[in-house]
Amino acid sequence: MTIRMLRRTLYWCSHYLLIGLYVLFALFPLYWLIKVALTPNDLLYSEGIRLWPSRTSLEHFRFVLAHSEFPLFFRNSLIVSSGTAVSVTLISGAGGYGLSRFSFRGKPLLVALMLVTQMFPLVMLVAPMFRLFAPLGLTNSLTGLVIVYTAFNAPFATFLMQSFFDAIPKELEEAAMIDGATRFGAFRRIILPLTLPGIAATGGFVFTAAWSELLFALMLNSSSRASTFPVGLLSFVSKFSVDFGQMMAAGVLALIPACLFFLAIQRYLVRGLTAGAVKG
């Protein structure tokens, strides 16, 4: 009995030790980001490797909020990311449901096409896309970015949504259809509410992906009026010489919405994935 208890104590000690190491590893780089953002310019290098500077100031944050185009970039990113999240969930929700509930001619082809989109380096799309989008007025526009990001995220999100729908028994909507509802009616009133956690997870996942994208935001939108946050962060460097304190302050501010969003959805991410994960 005592040996078992000893072993159990030992197990939980190492369990907590490992958990502690993981938390430390996950948070330390974020801590460093905040530390640099709070360090005044004159101490940035002289106290570079100190864990906490002898003096802190909010000057970088104040400057970024009051004297840079940061609020505009922030607003643009918010519009693009939420627009992308909403349109991907709608399109992938419908597509995932179609893949989950029907077998139809061309289905394997559709799946193959979606897999192909996950295979190649997106860099190779930049030049052709610029040529196709420019005449349509979709460069230097937030709408253009929403379209691009929606397409990039839709295939993966569709597979994800399909696994959520797969986890819900077909009999549910079949029963409703016998009671006289159309399939779309059953989809809307019965299936959709049940997959809400999954939809929230997909939406949050897509939001963070769109929030971080740099390459296409940089290439398609050259005017600063339509720049998103990551691009703005780069322009920071060239415009005000390389002011790392301000850059890190802007970076910390950029982290806030993405992290809030993520904290809100991460529970659903696991729960939603659990539903259909071991379907093979």
Partner: protein, 312 residues
């Protein structure tokens, strides 16, 4: 999309033929938006991009654009940088994916047990996933810098390294930097997917096994792993392809240097396209990478098929 359906809802008197037509079209109505989107926004530009591989496309040269046949591929065969980049891609992808996966799996196993504070811990350890990748690169470049980051000093004190220099600045060690950053950023992805897969394994399987006296390790080997394997195969496959194509961290942290020592195929494409502005050559490299990844995917999928057949 919705309005058409609502109309048929209010008009039950549709002819049998019409109804059959409507039912036949239904799957396509659901899947059409995603299909149209990926064809117009991804596959059309992709084919245009592939055609660039056979053309001379220099961004700043208005007279470029002519067909050059297989010239780019011949040039590629002799390109030393490309061969080095292939090897780096292998190291970068294998190390990143393997370590992300192992640490992610351990984390998932730890989080799969109930303990006080589990929710908070889960939220905290998953946080790196939400950080924009270029910011990840910036942050880690900063951490590895001996003037403004603590890591070189710590590593030297722990006798892991011989000096407190920036490992990103030495050709032999530079690739370690982006790999560490990618592990930091990627652990949550594997932890989330592994945790989801673990939680969908019925608990009574473990109860039965522990009544039979199977050790925890044996339970892991004979219950957890086989049930996890099919999901894992797909996740690892998608992830490997994604990481192989992923250039952000390398571009931000080392820019392929020093002396091209950290150039992977993906970052090399980036360099050729945006530093040399040679989109034709960049496309031909991308085409080769696409083919290699395609072969890899086919190999994994048939392996998975084989395993699943043997199991059933």
């Amino acid at each position: 999309m919705g309005s058409g359906h609502d109309q048929s809802e209010t008009e039950p008197e549709v002819s049998a033929v019409g109804r059959r037509l409507a039912t036949g079209a239904e799957p396509y109505l659901y899947t059409a938006p995603v299909l149209i989107l990926i064809i117009t926004v991804m596959l059309v530009p992709l084919s245009v991009g592939l055609s660039y591989a056979f053309r001379d496309i220099q961004l700043l040269d208005p007279f470029s654009g002519g067909f050059v046949g297989f010239d780019h591929f011949r040039e590629l065969k002799a390109d030393r940088n490309f061969r080095a980049a292939l090897l780096n891609t292998l190291i970068w992808t294998a190390a990143s994916v393997a370590l992300q996966f192992i640490f992610g799996l351990i984390l998932a196993l730890l989080l799969n047990r109930e303990f006080p504070g589990r929710r908070l811990v889960q939220a905290l350890v998953f946080l790196p996933w939400a950080v924009p990748t270029f910011l990840v690169g910036l942050d880690w470049a900063w951490l590895f810098n001996p003037v403004v980051g603590p890591l070189p000093g710590w590593l030297f004190t722990l006798k892991v390294t011989h000096d407190a220099n920036n490992l990103l600045a030495a050709p032999g060690t530079a690739l370690i930097g982006p790999i560490v950053a990618s592990i930091w950023w990627g652990i949550p992805f594997f932890a989330i997917t592994n945790l989801a897969a673990l939680q969908s394994i019925p608990k009574d399987l473990y109860e039965a096994a522990s009544i039979d006296g199977a050790s925890v390790f044996k339970q892991f080997r004979s219950i957890t792993l086989p049930l996890l394997a099919p999901t894992l195969a797909i996740t690892i496959l998608l992830r490997t392809v994604w990481v192989a194509n992923f250039a952000d961290l390398i571009v931000v942290m080392t820019n392929g240097g020093p002396a091209d020592s950290t150039q992977t195929v993906a970052s090399y494409i980036f360099t050729v396209a945006f530093r040399r502005l040679d989109f034709g050559y960049a496309s031909s490299i991308a085409a080769v990478l696409l083919i290699l990844l395609f072969i890899y995917a086919l190999a994994i999928l048939s392996l998975r098929h084989l395993i699943m057949q043997r199991q059933s």
